[in-house]
């Protein structure tokens, strides 16, 4: 299979042995469309190419035609297209196609792999097979090859226009631009390339305004830690200076020093004092740091949400709601923990360790060395164990999430479960999941039960070492009883900070990723923004002109594929077409939720990008299929687009929208609270509230996106009536599947795959007998059935 040169695996091995593996597979390195041709291929080329014929494009594949991994080549010069396929043994099979002969280059996008196919007037051949990884490279090369073809076949230049691809800067990255590694789906930033130092500095900037509180808090912490190491010293003095001499005196038959009790009392008071001091100041510090932490949270959270509200729709489209929510809630919280607690903990714990070490080394450096001996073991163990535990808990967490998933689907779907008598199936599914949780919990328990004894044992080694080495020193008269007690106490006090510091790395990493996730929101510029020199357009007439507009959401498929037409002010345009034809996209462009990739949209003759966004959107009203009501009263929702609306205006708008009658039937009238997503109001009622909202805003351009499709016929006629009043004197874009909804429309635009299929009045289009006439006929038949 691998007839020529190295197999892929060999190459991997070499790449691995020569250094970091990621270098060998960095995708941006592969993305050139003029790759270096290997020597063997070069020699073969010489026999094919004419003099002064240059290779313009050279791209390699990663699959061979038989479906095995391997490298084939596609090359293009100004005269021909060449394909080298390793399947021909011993020499590669060569396909040599003159550019003049090529009619079309086709990319077949299949499941798990793609093909490049060249079509000539006589036939067609597949020239390359490649995995999805190389899809961007081939997508880039195709228009380049077409350009070469256009040069030898100028009469066909028009044809290749439809292959144009857009590079959309807002496209979500899947690989890091710096290191080429994949970016986790939840993150959007490369955790490997996060510059942790820089992030830390930036994070600290949020703490700086509160330095008047946080610096004293840090100082208090340092003092507390210092005082914290003092009681063992007091115990040592107590033993060495008072208790031991007293015991000695007694065993020697001499009287005990009469001042000893006074000394004892002093030391005990000092001990109590130290504890009270620590307790009081810990509480004070805790309060101070909580304040700082909460202030930071407040600022960060508000900054992030404020910036998020500015960001364009594509930002939201590319990210899951849960993901964004967790950034504002969890990530910000994690940052607070880190700035307010983590950093101070690290400093405090390190200082405590340093204090204790100094004291131990001053008292007896040999014994100190022995005491420190098991510490690396404890660090290593905590580190290793933390890692293991994290894994186990992660699995467990996923299994718990599985329980929630089952519950979230069965509880709302309980009617379906019961109607199809699938209770047992759901119970079984649930039991399987809880069983997995059980197993996960037991795995975690196994680890925990191991952890405790091992940790105790490691600590105990330290104790035993102190008894052994210290005891021997006592026997040799090099150490006192009080000193050995001090070491014992310190040994136990050592553990907690050591464990904290061992976990520091993960804590730090987590904070860094959280910071990056929050900062990503803050750093993303809105892709649709007002230009600096944008103008206000206070009294829009409502003329909208599309000029050769192209748009793609994912830059793979064009949602709008060259649309040009102009609406007159006050005209109602009905948008008709199958789902996916581009109706909603067109509307998204009018409202400037997105900007076109190519072409312009002019409003009253101004490029829409030159109009202040607030001014533009302030004069556009939207009524959607699923009207969104916010948490608040009916009045709030009607007045959403006009915060200074009077009660009178709100009632007037509701009346115009045929909403007044049902609103006053609510016990709370206009003060009725509509729940999240307006759960307490029916679909038709919600729709009429949203129409009232649009009426009150009095927009110049009105957008009706399937405004009546989700309500019954009776309600529809009421809504229709309300809409009929609303559309007077405005430019209206209306999308509807029920063509009867569009009876007021001045003109109809029939869209098909992002282009205008037909345009004209209802009568014109019926007379034409095209797509629209066809649709109408079908719907008339349908309505007959309904009538029957």
């Amino acid at each position: 299979m691998h007839s020529g040169g190295f197999s892929r695996r060999d190459m991997h091995r070499m790449a691995r042995s020569t250094g970091r593996r990621s270098n060998a597979r960095r995708p941006d390195a592969e993305m050139t469309i003029l790759e270096e041709v290997p020597a063997a291929l070069q020699r073969q080329l010489e026999s094919v190419l004419e003099e002064k014929e240059d290779i313009k494009i050279a791209i390699s594949t990663d699959l061979q035609f038989d479906g095995s991994y391997g490298k084939d080549w596609v090359l293009a010069t100004e005269k021909r297209l060449l394909a080298f396929n390793q399947n021909g043994v011993p020499a590669p099979e060569v396909q040599n196609i003159a550019l003049e002969a090529i009619d079309e280059i086709e990319i077949r996008e299949l499941y798990g792999n793609n093909f490049m196919k060249v079509r000539t007037s006589e036939g067609a051949v597949e020239v390359a097979r490649y995995s999805k990884r190389l899809a961007p490279k081939f997508a880039e090369a195709t228009p380049e090859i077409e350009t070469l073809i256009d040069k030898v076949k100028p009469e066909d230049a028009e044809k290749s226009k439809r292959h144009r691809k857009f590079v959309d800067p807002g496209k979500k990255k899947i690989r890091c631009e710096t290191c080429g590694r994949p970016i986790p789906r939840w993150s959007d930033v490369c955790p490997n390339c996060v510059e942790k130092g820089k992030l830390l500095v930036r994070l600290l900037k949020y703490a700086i305004p509160f330095w008047k509180v946080s610096v004293p808090a840090l100082l208090i912490m340092l003092v507390i830690r210092l005082v914290g190491v003092y009681p063992p010293i007091l115990s040592k003095n107590l033993v060495d200076d008072i208790l031991v001499p007293a015991t000695m005196a007694m065993t020697g038959g001499q009287p005990v020093d009469p001042g000893a009790f006074g000394q004892l009392l002093t030391i005990v008071f000092m001990m109590v004092g130290a504890h009270v001091f620590t307790a009081v100041f810990s509480a004070v510090r805790g309060y101070m740091m909580t304040w700082v932490g909460q202030r930071i949270t407040l600022t960060l959270r508000n900054d992030a949400f404020q910036h998020m509200s500015v960001l364009s729709l594509d930002f939201y489209q590319q990210r899951e709601t849960g993901n964004l929510m967790s950034r504002i809630t969890q990530d910000v919280g994690r940052l607070r923990d880190f700035i307010a607690e983590g950093l101070q903990d690290i400093i405090g714990d390190s200082m405590a360790l340093v204090y204790m070490c100094i004291i131990m080394f001053v008292i007896n450096w040999q014994l100190a060395l022995w005491v420190l001996l098991p510490i690396p073991l404890i660090v290593l163990f905590s580190f290793y164990f933390g890692h293991k535990m994290h894994k186990v808990f992660h699995v467990l967490w996923r299994r718990y999430a599985g329980i929630s998933t089952i519950l979230a689907s069965t509880i709302p779907g309980i009617r379906v479960v019961k109607a199809f008598t699938r209770e047992k199936y759901e119970v079984d599914r649930f039991e399987e999941q809880t069983h997995q949780v059980f197993e996960g919990e037991m795995n975690a328990a196994k680890l925990w039960t191991l952890y405790q004894p091992i940790m105790t044992f490691l600590t105990y080694i330290g104790t035993v070492l102190i008894w052994l080495v210290g005891g021997r020193q006592i026997l040799n008269g090099e150490l006192t009883l009080g000193e050995i007690m001090l070491f014992m106490t310190y040994m136990t006090q050592f553990l907690q900070p050591v464990r904290t510091l061992a976990q520091m790395n993960r804590r730090f990493l987590r904070a860094a990723t959280s910071a990056e996730r929050v900062f990503e929101i803050l750093d993303t510029p809105p892709s649709v923004a007002s230009r600096k020199d944008a103008v206000d357009l206070p009294n829009m007439r409502g003329q909208v002109e599309f000029r050769d507009v192209f748009f793609s959401y994912d830059n793979e498929k064009n949602a709008i594929n060259g649309i040009s037409f102009t609406t007159k002010p006050g005209e109602m345009i009905g948008l008709v077409g199958h789902s996916g034809a581009g109706k909603s996209t067109l509307i998204n462009l009018v409202t400037r939720f997105y900007d076109p990739n190519e072409g312009d949209i002019l409003i009253d003759g101004h490029d829409s990008r030159d109009i202040e966004l607030r001014s533009l959107r302030g004069q556009i009203g939207v009524v959607l299929q699923e009207p969104f009501l916010f948490e608040g009263t009916v009045a709030d929702n009607i007045g959403y687009g006009k915060p200074d609306a009077t009660r009178q205006e709100i009632i007037a708008a509701a009346k115009a929208a045929n909403a007044h009658d049902f609103i006053i039937k609510f016990p709370d009238g206009y003060d009725t609270t509509v729940g999240e997503r307006g759960a307490r109001v029916s679909g038709g009622e919600r729709q009429r509230i949203s129409i009232a909202r649009a009426i009150l805003k009095n927009p110049r351009i009105l957008i009706l996106d399937e405004a009546t499709s989700s309500v019954d016929t009776e309600t529809e006629s009421r809504i229709q009536e309300a809409l009929g009043r609303l559309i007077q004197g405005r430019t209206v874009f209306a999308i509807a599947h029920r063509l009867s909804t569009l009876k007021h429309a001045n003109r109809l635009v029939v869209l098909k795959e992002g282009t205008i299929d037909e345009i004209g009045t209802h009568e014109e289009l019926i007379a034409k007998g095209g797509t629209y006439a066809n649709l109408c006929e079908k719907q008339t038949e349908l309505s007959k059935i309904r009538a029957w």
């Binding site: 299949l110 499941y111 798990g112 792999n113 079509r119 006589e122 995995s131 899809a135």
Partner: protein, 169 residues
């Protein structure tokens, strides 16, 4: 009076003996149907790509309208079957992983190095959700670029591969 629906009559299968599969001059799949009509290019689609790759093959025309269903490609004449199977093999590329050499990563992103029936391969996943665990130890993997891989029964892999895989599923 309309006849009541008989559900087994709803899916209209093509008579396998009357379907002729060939290639046209543009190397496209061409199908002659029992009604005598000839269509090209024809796109075969597996309706159960994961569970029944050779049964219930839908034939689509260039406008993606269904021309008809083939119940089982093994019912076709041998020559037709070969051509259709070849085309399906092209259209559905999902190498079977036979061994996992290494699997590392953090933050949910993993880099895999594995042996497949198509040769050895490197690929990256962006999250654990891209791994689907089915019954019988079957595992389906979709990598960052949209390539697919399959493990027929992971319990039958070597112990090292199993250990690596079990950190992810």
């Amino acid at each position: 009076m309309k006849q009541p629906i008989r559900i087994e009559d709803e899916a209209q299968f093509l008579d396998p003996k009357l379907v002729k599969i060939s290639h046209n001059q543009f190397a496209e799949l061409q199908a002659e149907l029992p009604d005598g009509s000839v269509h090209a290019p024809v796109e075969p689609v597996r309706t159960f790509p994961l569970t029944q790759p050779d049964q219930y093959i839908s034939l689509l025309d260039a406008q993606k309208n269904e021309l008809g269903l083939i119940e089982d490609i093994n019912q076709l004449e041998r020559a037709d079957r070969t051509l259709l199977a070849e085309e399906l093999k092209k259209c559905y590329f999902m190498p079977k992983i036979t061994r996992i050499y290494s699997l590392e990563g953090q933050f949910g992103v993993t880099q895999w190095e594995a042996e497949t029936d198509s040769g050895s391969v490197f690929f990256d996943l962006r999250s654990r959700n891209d791994i689907t665990s089915l019954s019988g130890g079957r595992v389906l993997i979709k990598d960052i670029d949209g390539n697919r891989y399959e493990i027929v029964n992971y319990h039958q892999l070597d112990p090292k591969s199993i250990a690596l895989l079990e950190t992810q599923i």
